[in-house]
Point group: C2
Chain length 108, copies 2
Amino acid sequence: MADLYHPETRAIQLVDVLGALGHPVRMEIIRALADGEERFCGEILPAEPKSSLTHHWRALREAGVIHQRRAGRKFYITLRRADLDTRFPGLLDLTFAEPTGFDKPDSK
Amino acid sequence: MADLYHPETRAIQLVDVLGALGHPVRMEIIRALADGEERFCGEILPAEPKSSLTHHWRALREAGVIHQRRAGRKFYITLRRADLDTRFPGLLDLTFAEPTGFDKPDSK
């Protein structure tokens, strides 16, 4: 089984990170991981369909936002907070300070 | 002809802005507008196909990133820098400090 691709810290690109974060479900995912703890993928947004989450894990992982560890048929997920803070200081702080796309005002 | 939709400043959502910025062509567009001057849409990335740019103007406008002014059959574009700096302080500074997706290292 192929290893999961994770970009090196220096290869993480802002445009990829912004594209990965710029989706309401992925915003919810990174909020669930904000404390830096590793979590079993099934614990994160359990109400979201598994096929949708599989797509989002990959988008976040390939952009360098999360680390995904395989253990048998399970995945464990961590936010790459230190790597992102190194590459783009302030971006995660700014992101966590904002309400998510799920809280859009009706005015929009 | 319908007015172009522009979200009010307070209705601009981070998830939408990140999704709008998280694309290499749109990163190039906002860099071309970074000085805050209004530009004729045909001046910005003249090598990019018009149909592609039309899609990107809309994505950026609906997210609250640019203002698009119609003058006859032409459009004039401005970065909503003050609005974005008010809503998400530091985001544009951080974005302009980074190389674009067009400069990805071969290592990725």
